[in-house]
Symmetry: C2
Subunit: 767 residues, 2 copies
């Protein structure tokens, strides 16, 4: 059993048999969505161990003071239970043949087929189809087709709206009104308990027998947190019965519902539902597929040609693109991207540095308008960053390690996992001392500007954000006995080492932030006095500027050893060396935590993930090749890649060094984090950042693309199995198409309204 | 598939095959408990549709203002999941032979046996045993024995404490501390969100292989609302592996934890767990079985001899006794009995008039000490009754229709079910206008005194309660244009008729209450001036007494028609007559609600349940036989028995009239409400009051026992199939044994410390 990769050339990810033990994998990797909502692909019938999630971006709620805010699991509309001759349809009962479940990346449609024989011997053919519309962001539609095979059967269908779902036991909703209109239209309201967001969920069914519409009478049932109806029909052999179910979800947090009363919302959303139902499933599916073509496949086309493996590689990239659209809140700048997208409850929908460092490059180079929204989110969430700074005794903007709603501030939970020695939960320090996030956010804002040339963004948001972050760093620096500034007691990107001093990534990035603020300060003061004055009033630049200058000049920066290795902090290289083979070979992550507790791991030369290697490609110019090479070799040997952010970083670096086999090997590993055969890896949701990483492996790594000091560099180096790599890049408003073969590189400006200057394999040219 | 009644002579209720569609039935009817806690018998492995409830009496909580208080579903300790050769053990997968699940009423032990072949072909024999200790009220213990058949298997066991359970989607708990002590003892804390009750749940596992203790190392896992461990063991053919799991539950509401800090509770309960685990499963099961013998079977022995059916009848009575012990909070007078006992979430753990009218007779006649506690509860909940009176513009004690914690007041939900015409939830009026409960409570207090002779109860609680209730009635009466007092706009016992005037049951019981208060007033004033003064100060008797006298004298009491039928209210007999055959024949209740909405039903001569027939046996002397007979015939034809309180009332009445075949037929129907073959009837829990009703059918009906005007009457009339009926009665502190055959009746005073006077078949005698 498992994944079937035989149809990847048709854009299809398939599961070729059903295993009730591994539900989470396909629920997550085959999830549907549109950035407004994410719908895990739990089956229409229920299973023990399923996670039936419908997450609406930005609707954060906190259950109580012992928890942090999270995306609440909205009422389910996808369950459609069937009884065939009195037996509940379920693939772990009776027997089935011809099973397939297919996600079509190109159209965003999920299809499941199976012939099922009930324990009593009744046989039916079943086809399930489902979409979340990319055209109508509030719409879900599905069909269930039952073909009666061999002997007559009585079929019962139970379907409705089920608000009994929870987030692993936590119920975020107060129950609201439940109604059946005209014995047909179901409406359920629920309101988040702390944030007070009201959800309106509607659903309606249509039926057809052998292609003819069928009216079915029913009993309607309203019970606690649930309303549903039972429909029964008798089928003769050869009969083909179809249930169409149309549903929509709106919330009072939606921008397109702003100013509406709940009553208005109830009436309007019911009308919307009627409109969608009248269009019918096929029309809805087609317009959604057209939107996928327009928004994703035409906007950011990719091609790879080469050996057999290369077609899997191309599929992996499209799979990444598919998911990066699912998770992207293109419709609203008040939200960002959770570490699991909208495909599961892991990390509670919170966004991390993952957005800036791993995902933004893809969006900036393919969909700058969407990338801007993600950056605007950071600006809009400055109040939370100010609060966090104050709470920790600092000034300026100290961005939350985990960010949720705009004014939530830090939402990192206090505990996670189990200490194997003490039997107690492990304290999570990241929310307090994983501080590099603030420089990462500033870096993201600058990067966005550098790639897009969006001066208005810089004026309205970027300058202020970068300077506000610099104010934090100036207040954060600690003067040491050596007269230099240190940043002590932090967690760097590598989370296996807590409470370290002078983490290289943190210190270099802090300096970068200070220097960028100084640069902008000087520039604006000289050239744009009005804007400068506005910022000065807001940020008190006269006071903070000297601190920036002092800080940037005297911050301690770890230097490479004689062996050219950059120490990631003041402690790591003195750690114990142990044999890591066992953990490197395990097909699950964090195996080392089962043998050592975190306190013990602190003393071992082992990394969870790329740390200063991320630095090498953000600030590529600051480190000579021999340092990068020696450090890569040193850290790769000691890194378990227990974070999904790690492999792609190592891959890009390897490609930069010309180690293409190694780069390709790491790329393949990164590409199979969610897509691969390991069935337990995606249970809590897909790995959002790793999708950005996979794209980076191809475009940054093998494509050799980089924004360096505001300039575009292209330097393709194709791996052995690839003959051709083609992709597009948005640069300063122009869409470039890069076609690289082993022999040559062609860069074409598809927009062509303005020439673009870039460096191609070391030579500056224009296109 | 279904229930197996072949072992009822061994006190065993058995299920002979497993049907995943009907889980609720056995979960409820085979539930375990001890009055402190009720544990539904969900299987060790999980199923779709299961309801895995552990309810601790009295721990009411309210999720938010949109809900009413209910018993929260405590963390589960019964799930023990097995993987056999990598396949999850579940009876809807693979194949099984030799299935049986047996509840032994005598010992309170649940046993399940099955031989299971996994989908891969691995074969194991499984035996599950489980108890909730009647000796140690906080203890749950279970064992799982796996015998390896045919070929070697790798077995994985996952077990822990799971606090992700909810009450149909509502989560009542804030997550608390979770700990593994010594990699072995699991402890989980959770606190109810509004009532702030902290639950401490502990568990530990012990293992044995072929009878030898086995230490198994494990990974411990702490996750959100859950902690668990995985244990693995390789079994050879013939190997027999046993998991013993010991668990306990304590709450800060427990009387035996009063004054303890949570930390003290954590430490003490862990010690208790170690003590229980050291004793071992067998010893715990034996001491619990001994307690069952002592507390139930020796205290209230019952015997029936006769034809084949009579043995089922005897079993049904024992089954009723079993459940009446499960639901009885013998340990604490601050709680009462929910309408579903502790066997499910139905009616949210709230108590109704069911306690006084249907259950108290059993407890008063067999376990007066426990009956007293139930009455004390009513006294302790007077503050809530006063609040309800004030909120509704009345005075005195207006008891809640649904009663939960002492100061919760009225907890009847506002809506329940669906109106089939409007598609909206149906408003529940009982909490506001089903007012007879106040007279029922007063009647219960008097009845308790009359049967037990417990004068101290009357002094401390009873007088005041009865008078306080009378104050309510005096304030409730409405003077009509006819100069008489009316009670308009009520719901009587029959809930199919709302907003009726002068419901016979209500008016007669109100008059009884007023008269009883007057009688006690006069008696105390004359004979016990000190007590009188105390009550006068509290209740202002000088003011209220004249109102009682006036009210009792001038209350309107519906009178029988010329046909000797007592009209149940001012409207019913004018209603439309329809053919009720369809609804009488349905194997589910409330079928009429699918064809008519409640407004329409108001105009039809149809009863959900016994209404004035209850009156006939509470106030038996007030109505001449011809009225009872004519009314019985009239109402029986029009009653759907859609309430479980109904059949037994009609049965007792039929027995009183000498209609023994009819009485027996109704008794059998009542006896099979939960015990019978209908698989959907008990999903939300057993029908607590109907168990009292079943006992009343036997002892009140066929035994002819009644307390009338404070005197004991015995007048047995055995049904055709019974040759002998033997039971005991506690009367004024003396335990009488009644042995009735068709030929004669022997009454023996087993206590014998004081002669008892009673009427036997019309003759006053002493024993």
């Amino acid at each position: 059993m498992g994944m079937d990769y035989s149809k990847i050339d048709q854009w299809i990810l398939a599961e070729d048999s059903f295993d009730p033990v591994h539900l989470g994998k396909c629920e997550a990797v085959m999830s549907l969505g549109n950035g407004y909502m994410g719908l895990r692909s739990a089956a229409e019938e229920r299973y023990v161990g399923e996670t039936r999630d419908l997450l609406i971006n930005g609707t954060f709620d906190r259950f109580d003071e012992s928890e942090v805010t999270e995306l609440p699991n909205a009422a389910d509309v996808t369950a459609v239970e069937l009884w065939v001759g009195g037996e509940r349809f379920s693939l772990d009962q009776g027997s089935c043949t011809g099973y397939s479940r297919e996600l079509n990346l190109k159209t965003g449609e999920l299809t499941r087929r199976v012939e099922w024989t009930s324990p009593k011997g009744d046989k039916v053919g079943l086809v399930f189809r489902r979409i979340v519309s990319l055209k109508r962001l509030h719409d879900i539609a599905l069909t269930v087709t039952v073909t009666c095979l061999e002997q007559p059967v009585a079929l019962k269908v139970r379907s409705g709206i089920d608000a009994r779902v929870t987030n692993t036991g936590t119920q975020h909703f107060t129950e609201g009104e439940k109604r059946f209109y005209e014995k047909k239209y179901l409406q359920l309201l629920e309101t988040t308990i702390e944030s007070g967001i009201t959800f309106v969920v509607n659903a309606v069914h249509r039926f057809a027998l052998n292609g003819q519409p069928l009216e079915l009478d029913t009993d309607v049932n309203i019970d606690r947190r649930v309303l549903y109806a039972d429909y029964t029909v008798d089928l003769k052999p050869g009969d083909c019965f179809t249930v169409e179910k149309y549903a929509n979800v709106f919330t009072t947090r939606d921008l397109d519902c702003a100013g509406k009363t709940v009553a208005e919302l109830q009436a309007q959303t019911l009308e919307d539902l009627k409109t969608s139902a009248a269009l019918g499933y096929q029309a809805l599916a087609e317009e959604s597929a057209a939107q996928w073509q327009l928004e994703v496949w035409d906007r950011a086309p990719l091609d790879i040609q080469g050996d057999e493996n290369s077609q899997f590689d191309l599929f992996a990239l499209r799979f990444a693109q598919y998911h990066m659209r699912l998770m992207l809140p293109r419709h609203d700048n008040r939200m960002n991207i959770g570490a699991k997208g909208l495909s599961g409850e892991g990390y509670k929908g919170h966004c991390f540095w993952d957005t800036e460092i791993f995902l933004l490059p893809y969006y900036m180079f393919t969909d700058p308008e969407a990338a801007r929204k993600l950056e605007e989110y950071r600006y809009l969430s400055l109040p939370g960053a100010h609060r966090k700074a104050k709470e920790n005794g600092y000034r300026g903007a100290m961005f939350p390690w985990e960010s949720a709603w705009l004014d939530d501030g830090e939402t990192c939970p206090l505990y996670m996992g189990t200490d194997i020695l003490t039997g107690t939960p492990i304290k999570v320090w990241s929310g307090i001392i994983e501080q590099h996030i603030t420089a990462d956010v500033a870096f993201g804002a600058w990067q966005y500007y550098a790639i897009t040339g969006d001066q208005a963004f810089l004026d309205d948001y970027g300058y202020e954000l970068i300077m506000d972050a610099a104010i934090f760093w100036a207040s954060r620096l600690e003067k040491g006995e050596d007269g230099q500034y240190h940043i002590n007691d932090v967690v760097g990107p590598d989370e296996y080492h807590e409470h370290v001093n002078d983490n290289a990534f943190t210190n270099y990035m802090a300096q970068w932030n200070l220097n960028k603020a100084i640069e902008y300060h000087d520039e604006l003061k000289a050239e744009r006095p009005e804007l400068f004055q506005r910022l000065d009033e807001k940020l008190n630049l006269a006071e903070v500027y000297p601190q920036w200058v002092d800080g940037a000049a005297h911050i301690y920066l770890p230097q490479p050893t004689e062996e050219n290795i950059l120490p990631m902090d003041d402690r790591f290289m003195q750690g114990k060396e142990i044999d890591l083979t066992k953990y490197k070979e395990q097909d699950f992550v964090a195996g080392i935590m089962k043998d050592y507790n975190l306190e013990q791991i602190q003393g071992i030369q082992v990394c969870k993930q790329a740390d200063c290697l991320v630095l090498f490609y953000l600030l590529e110019d600051e480190f000579p090749p021999e340092v990068k090479r020696a450090s890569w070799a040193y850290y790769e040997a000691r890194t378990l890649h227990d974070s999904s952010l790690s492999l792609s970083t190592h891959s890009v670096q390897a490609a930069d060094m010309g180690e293409l086999d190694m780069a390709y090997d790491l790329f393949r590993k990164a590409a199979t984090i969610d897509l691969g055969p390991y069935m337990g890896t995606s249970d809590a949701g897909i790995h959002a950042a790793s999708f950005g990483g996979v794209w980076q492996c191809a475009v940054y790594g093998f494509g050799g693309v980089r924004m360096l000091n505001g300039k575009l560099r292209i330097e393709p180096k194709l791996p052995k199995g690839w003959d051709k790599l083609q992709f597009t890049l948005m640069w300063q408003g122009q869409k470039l198409q890069v076609t690289a073969t082993k022999e040559n590189v062609v860069v074409e400006n598809l927009t062509g309204t303005k020439p673009v200057t870039f460096t191609l394999n070391g030579t500056e040219i224009q296109a």
